[in-house]
Symmetry: C2
Subunit: 225 residues, 2 copies
């Protein structure tokens, strides 16, 4: 995992991470009310730190707070997920364009090696869908890091990252897309290697559009049941 801090510093930070994990994995259902006193006791802390954690999660858009009425887990409806993927397309596209100019040859090479290992995992089918998904996040985040843009890294790393993982848990195993996705990843790396930022951006945007289309269809199919 990328921005993981299992236990550190202040209690508020610990609560924040534990809550984020519980929300992303679905342990806390979407729209569920979050009772301050109950959670505080569960985590063995006072309500003060927990309230700060909730404020932090509110900033990450994982919970929604209503004054005098408590906090609830956000609901990832179709519209919200659609919005999320539009933002990702814009942000990661830009990251890719910049990365094409700023990544070192060494980093691009490492990216290529990462894809090799993904290909291995797919062949063996050993890692399964989950680890492939995590690997996919790795690939995307490496490119974002390559942009050297701290704001992009923050946004895509801490906030969007969680929401996107939430998406994945919701619409799990549509794994038939791993192969074409890998192919697209390869194309992107090639564009990076050729330092063609414009092309790299276009390919990344198409790649994300494709991912959204796939998820979108999966949802539509599920709801037709």
């Amino acid at each position: 995992m990328l921005p993981n801090t299992p236990q550190q510093g202040t209690l508020a930070d610990i609560a924040s991470h534990r809550l984020a994990h519980s929300i992303v994995t679905g342990e806390l259902a979407q729209g569920q009310k979050l009772n301050e006193a109950e959670l505080a006791e569960r985590y063995g802390m006072g309500r003060g730190p927990l309230r700060e954690a909730l404020r932090h999660l509110e900033g990450m858009r994982l919970v929604k707070r209503i004054p005098n009425a408590g906090a609830r887990v956000v609901v990832l409806d179709y519209q919200t997920m659609s919005d999320l993927y539009a933002v990702r397309e814009a942000l990661e596209g830009m990251a890719c364009r910049i990365a094409a100019a700023r990544m070192t040859d060494e980093e691009i090479n490492q990216l290529s090696l990462l894809l090799d290992s993904h290909a291995m995992q797919i062949e063996q089918q050993g890692g399964g869908v989950y680890s492939q998904s995590e690997g996919d996040l790795d690939f995307h985040f490496q490119i974002v890091r390559g942009s050297r843009n701290k704001m992009l890294m923050d946004m895509l790393g801490s906030e969007q990252y969680q929401l996107q993982r939430m998406c994945r848990y919701r619409t799990s195993r549509n794994a038939q897309r791993t192969r074409p996705a890998l192919q697209q990843h390869r194309q992107i790396v090639e564009a990076l290697a050729q330092r063609d930022g414009e092309l790299a951006e276009m390919l990344m945007r198409r790649h994300i559009q494709g991912a959204w289309r796939s998820i979108s269809e999966t949802i539509a199919r599920e709801e037709q049941t």
Copy 2:
């Protein structure tokens, strides 16, 4: 002002807004340490709500917190501002593309009228630079609203909006750019009217790139002094 809530609901929200205002206007210098007890007394509240406000501002990237060492106002150095404008270019470009498909004719018309009023203000020179800047933010935010994308509205409205205003206060009155900017705005509205999302996105991205170049040069000139 767009997302203004002078005084409402909880003390933490009030403190958050007052602090944000003080930071954006430069009343609180960049990098300045924020003493919890002092601010709490200044705002006439306990430290609890104030701490929550700081957590919220941390999410908005207006302050940076270090565990056990307090919170400081962020420093808008050259690199950060550059990063910010890259993110804006990506986000507002996307917003513009979507808005071209989703805005009503009525809304586009209103946008055109808004530009007329800006032109008037420039001619009269009455409003001065400040109100023109605020008007510019209005124009941009109207387009973002037109995208109907809540996440974009949130990001550009609450977070980036403040940081960008901070930029403006730092590099104030480089007003010679208002005329070409207005011209570019007109082109964008025209692209929206023709429902050409791709063109609208490209024009918006160029527009923001131009704004950054202008600010960038201003900073370079200042630092050479």
